[in-house]
Symmetry: C2
DNA sequence: TTCCCATTGTAACCTTTGTTACAGCATAGT
DNA sequence: ACTATGCTGTAACAAAGGTTACAATGGGAA
């Protein structure tokens, strides 16, 4: 039994299920910025996150992106789940935000376990619940907040996910994920700096705790 | 056995489950504009739609609204499901868009059936799937589309749901649901009329098929 | 060192959306 | 018929966000 699996999922699943996961699952290490799932791909297995973080992105018809949410340890991709069951193509892109460890579970097993293990069922329901709540929050952000507020929230989220108050990214990168233009981001970041909330450097932004 | 139940769910559930639903469910008729679920309420039962339509709305801290999606025959409210399992307060408002018939299922039964009936489990998963797809579409609308496109889509959706090419509503009403102001809606509607897509009247808008 | 290129800063301008104000009109109730 | 009220149309203006253009800078590659 891989210890990390136990650490992340031991409190959720009974030993028998953990053993099964250990046996049928494929353990994977993916580096930062690795694309795990691409839009339009068929999905043949479902990921359980052990460590690291994954960002989930939506794309419009022009190829412009929008960050939906992050997944962390103990999470799974409900969108994938959903696509597996429906046998449809992925509607999202999933990219490693950090170096990430995960176990891939074949679809077949997933369905089997749904009937067999109560804890698995609960996990799946809880995952759906969490993802729906995240999507509601995303909708709140884009529908109710202005770009400067969204930007600040984005920076706070990044710091939380990476556990690092220095955000290693470019203005262009941020613009993609918030679905706006680089100039707008530069303008708003400059304002945030004037307000003393951040310090701007080349290729990184420092979030000031004040 | 209530015939309408069989019509709407007969192809999904086995006879035994239908019988159970028929016995423990409470059948309800609600008139148009009736509020079924209010934000912050605890939820004690789960609705299955038999006929009519329900609109699901999100609200921000200022009380401003945003339409998320519609539910129709054969749908259930995944948000409710989610709240039931998590024992949390409702994050959304549900309002009858038309006169609507539904069956209310007690939470207790819901959980029992999840273990007992495969068809119920599949229904629940499918409902989550559908709702996630609807929310993705909502995100696309607000993130990627301009207000005039969103407005046109809104009108098309209304016509589809109500099966009536005359939309009985006011500009103010539309403004609430799209989270903008009445003046903006009046302006954009006037443009759509100039483009020959609609005909504006007092208290109603006619969608022209052309 | 020198050059190149990605990144950032900034100005000027445009479009879209939001706000305020007010007039005209239809309809229901008196 | 008269009035109050809600609905719609429109103008004028403000604010937010998007676009284009270009300069400055820093760091890596040759």
């Amino acid at each position: 039994m891989i210890q990390e699996l136990k650490n992340s999922y031991g409190h959720l699943f009974e030993t028998e299920l953990l053993e099964e996961i250990n046996q049928v699952g494929t353990f994977k290490d993916v580096p930062q910025d690795f694309t795990l799932i691409e839009i339009g791909e068929y999905i043949k297995s479902m990921p359980l996150l052990i460590s690291g973080a994954i960002k989930v992105l939506r794309e419009d018809h022009d190829g412009d992106e929008l960050l939906l949410y992050f997944l962390e340890r103990g999470d799974t991709c409900a969108m994938t789940l959903s696509c597996c069951l429906g046998q449809t193509k992925s509607k999202i892109r999933a990219v490693a935000e950090l170096d990430t460890k995960l176990v891939m579970i074949p679809i077949r097993k997933m369905e089997e376990w749904t009937g067999k293990y109560r804890s698995w069922r609960n996990f799946v329901f809880e995952s759906y619940h969490n993802r729906i709540m995240e999507m509601l929050e995303t909708i709140d952000n884009i529908a109710f907040m202005k770009m400067d507020e969204r930007l600040l929230k984005y920076l706070l989220d990044k710091v939380k996910i990476t556990q690092d108050s220095i955000i290693h990214t470019t203005h262009q990168e941020i613009a993609y994920e918030l679905h706006t233009s680089r100039v707008v981001i530069s303008r708003l970041l400059k304002n945030l700096e004037k307000l003393g909330k951040i310090k701007l450097n080349r290729n990184n932004i420092v979030l000031l705790s004040s």
